[in-house]
């Protein structure tokens, strides 16, 4: 399994000063598989994602993408990895100095050196894929609603037809109906691309819809990992508490008292 995995994390540790965030994360994502990492706020979901992308470097452990060790990778290997990935950020992270279509076409123009006229046509096609009309192409991202910004972010992430997609809290901060639209788009886009996907979320509805497999992160480790169909029948008390959203249970909440 580990030799064929698209993404493979082994014993990944990461701390910030005295705070140990990741304490031995093991996780595999198979080609074409969609894995959701769930967990409460501050359990290190974002840190895990940033370690895979190379935005943070882990203190110890191994991260392999397509069998290439990323923790000791050269710049060229890292660039090659980034060239086949796309990422949707929590706040969309659109470049506000550029127009909507320039955002979507950014990876094509700057990353692949495509001619702007051709990239613009492709960008507009991508915008239509995520249900946005071409008349917003020349607008500034700041003038769009949150749901539209997320969809532009998704269009930007898929524009280069990546093999691996990362989604950071795709449904956070938008209304439930738009959240469902985003979930459907994510499923559709990953299927069409045949991409592997890694999503971090604390929205169970989103995880159920997007993921083939769910991994729960708690106190810096993956404490449960299984098919999405098993999350309701699992007898793992931590998972059950999280899925049900109970205050009572074994999870240590970061609260003094209620």
């Amino acid at each position: 399994m580990s030799t064929t995995a698209k993404i493979s994390l082994r014993n990944v540790h990461k701390g910030f000063g005295p705070k140990k965030v990741l304490q031995g994360v093991d996780l595999d994502v198979a080609p074409g598989e969609s894995v959701a990492i769930i967990g409460g706020s501050g359990t290190g979901k974002s840190v895990t994602l940033k370690c895979v992308l190379g935005l943070l470097s882990p203190d110890q452990g191994s991260i392999k993408v397509d069998g290439v060790e990323m923790t000791t990778a050269s710049q060229a290997e890292r660039d090659a990895m980034l060239a086949k990935t796309g990422m949707l950020f929590q706040g969309a992270a659109l470049f506000d100095s550029l127009t909507v279509w320039e955002n979507v076409a950014f990876g094509l123009i700057e990353g692949q050196g495509m001619k702007p006229a051709k990239a613009r046509d492709l960008a507009i096609a991508r915008l239509e894929d995520v249900g946005l009309a071409s008349d917003i192409a020349n607008m500034s991202p700041a003038s769009l609603s949150g749901g539209m910004q997320k969809r532009v972010g998704l269009a930007r992430a898929i524009a280069t037809e990546p093999e691996i997609l990362f989604f950071d809290e795709p449904t956070t901060g938008i209304d439930p109906i738009m959240g469902d639209v985003i979930n459907d788009l994510i499923v559709k886009c990953t299927r069409e691309l045949g991409a592997s996907a890694m999503t971090i979320t604390h929205d169970m509805a989103s995880a159920r819809k997007i993921a083939d497999r769910v991994a729960m992160l708690y106190q810096g480790k993956i404490i449960w990992d299984g098919p999405v169909a098993d999350i309701d029948t699992s007898d793992n008390p931590y998972l059950q508490q999280f899925v049900a959203g109970d205050i009572e249970g074994p999870l240590e909440l970061d609260l003094k008292h209620l």
Partner: protein, 257 residues
């Protein structure tokens, strides 16, 4: 000794900062000489940093030249050396006031804007997004600004020098009663090439400092709106102080033998 602990801590923090800025500068210079170079962004930044700073620099140097003529006239008339006014104005402007005043004004205008823009990009994950889109943030954000600063500051200062000398001329001829021909002759009689060149070298150094500090503080800003505000303040304060320190160092390198 609890009195010395904070002093030592501050000193170590300062040394760490110097180290980080040096590494940042080294990385920037490394990326300046390796492809890809975004010429389109360099031109855009030259317009932002250079062209749009012209009014501020022109106003500053105009009044600096005017007040310089007025002050040196009233001072020099005490020992009947009024004829030196034109020379004093041109040498002070080209060597000191042109570069330092333009540098400080641009530090306030441009350094703050750079730190705020890059800082906001940092806290809204736009810099991370650049990385995931196979674009090096140093090459895309830092290098164009630093190159634009290096090129445009000397040009701004040269224009400022001319406007400052003109300010001195206007006051000298219209208010202090100098003959216009002899004022201009006195301006150029004792002016040496090195006076102007040293001022332009200073300007290039200041341009590097302003853009580098703006980028550094923006790039490392943390913690939302407050962090960006802090980055802006730090960029302006640190570049202003570094301008004054490097001004002394460059002057000493040029004029003491």
């Amino acid at each position: 000794m609890p009195i010395f602990a904070p002093v030592g801590h501050m000193f170590l923090t300062f040394l760490a900062l110097v180290g980080r800025v040096t590494v940042f500068a080294g990385r920037t210079i490394g990326h300046m000489v390796t492809p890809p170079i975004y010429f389109r962004l360099i031109f855009k930044q030259m317009r932002e940093i250079g062209y749009f700073s012209l009014p501020v620099v022109a106003m500053t140097t105009l009044f600096a030249g005017m007040v310089l003529a007025l002050q040196s006239y009233s001072g020099f008339s005490r020992f009947s050396a009024e004829s030196a006014v034109a020379t004093v104005v041109v040498i002070s402007m080209t060597r000191e006031l042109g570069p330092v005043l333009a540098g400080l004004m641009v530090a306030g205008r441009v350094g703050a804007a750079i730190a705020a823009e890059i800082g906001t990009m940092r806290v809204t994950e736009q810099i991370d997004a650049l990385v995931t889109l196979s674009t090096n943030p140093f090459k895309y954000l830092v290098v164009p600004r630093v190159i634009a600063g290096l090129i445009t500051l000397p040009v701004l200062v040269l224009i400022g020098d001319i406007i400052g000398v003109m300010g001195g001329y206007l006051v000298g001829v219209n208010k202090l009663g100098f003959n216009d021909g002899s004022y201009i002759r006195n301006t150029f009689q004792y002016l040496e090439q090195l006076d102007v060149v040293s001022g332009l070298v200073k300007a290039a150094v200041f341009g590097f400092i302003i853009t580098l500090m703006g980028c550094y503080h923006g790039y490392h800003s943390r913690g939302g709106a407050q962090g960006v505000g802090q980055a802006t303040t730090n960029a302006v304060v640190s570049s202003s102080i570094l301008i004054l320190i490097s001004n002394y160092i460059v002057t000493e390198l040029f004029f003491t033998r």
